[in-house]
Symmetry: C2
Subunit: 146 residues, 2 copies
DNA sequence: TTTAATTCGGATAAAATTGTCCTATTTAAT
DNA sequence: ATTAAATAGGACAATTTTATCCGAATTAAA
């Protein structure tokens, strides 16, 4: 698995909130977890993490909820969400778990994975939150089984 | 993380056993866990899995241990070990956790990950156990911190 | 000012993964 | 036969991840 379950939910939730934020709509945790088919309380915890990471914003109280600023809609990339939730990326760590795997002291698959990791990082840096939400809005992709 | 901890140990152990098997040496779990720096009892469990999957062979009793047949030394690829331990691969599952993600009903990152997954699968199918062990034997890579 | 809708966050529980321990079984050597 | 060295495998423990529950705090509307 590339992402933890928490990260999967976090990405799907972010895309959903982004989709609503494009049309200035705010959404609450109940809607979010229903629309992305995720456990409500657990998803709420993950959203807290994303709020702390300043990726999404929360508004407390009645008629509150979650939203994403117009600035962040353009700024946030897939990699930002992944790092906020899962922390250090596969990119940085040895796939065989060696503490000091490097160019100088590589594990037996270091070179094979080097290129894959680079492509993965590059792709995640170039996958925009707004683009993901637009694709869902256009019906080209989805966030749960239809 | 790409591989589970169990899989990391399993791959490192396989490479070590392969290295010894090239010169017809058999090795026991104590040596293996020392040489790859892994928890002994846990590694023993993982080796059982690899024995059942017919990737490595075990010989019981005094002067027994683990070895890899000359045939398997040539036949086994990284992907075989990964599938034996971790089961279904990232390759087959949706990175955002959707049950029915496909070309017809893709998640918002399906197309981006499609290429990465293909490259990853291809690489793992072409990474030979023998090549990994040869690289360690030649001092070009290692299985634990030196 | 009261109420209802909401997030926040601490405590806890459940499940999965990682790791340990111990006994049984096997086998070669003495 | 006995012994020592090894894997096999069941039971269990620790840790991490996933998930739930509930009361406190916040806020807009009535």
């Amino acid at each position: 698995m590339i992402f933890s379950k928490a990260c999967e939910y976090g990405i799907r939730a972010s895309v959903y909130i982004a989709q609503k934020s494009v049309s200035k709509e705010r959404c609450n945790i109940k809607d979010i977890s229903k629309e992305i088919d995720s456990p409500e309380a657990f998803t709420a915890k993950i959203l807290q993490t994303l709020v702390h990471a300043q990726i999404i914003q929360s508004v407390k109280g009645a008629f509150g909820g979650f939203e994403i600023t117009q600035k962040n809609l353009r700024k946030i990339k897939l990699i930002d969400i992944a790092i906020a939730i899962d922390g250090t990326l596969y990119d940085k760590t040895c796939v065989l778990g060696l503490k000091h795997c490097s160019e100088n002291q590589p594990c037996p698959v270091h070179n094979q994975f080097k290129h894959i990791k680079k492509d993965l990082l590059c792709m995640m840096q170039n996958t925009h939150l707004l683009a993901m939400s637009t694709s869902v809005e256009a019906g080209l992709s989805c966030l749960k089984i239809a």
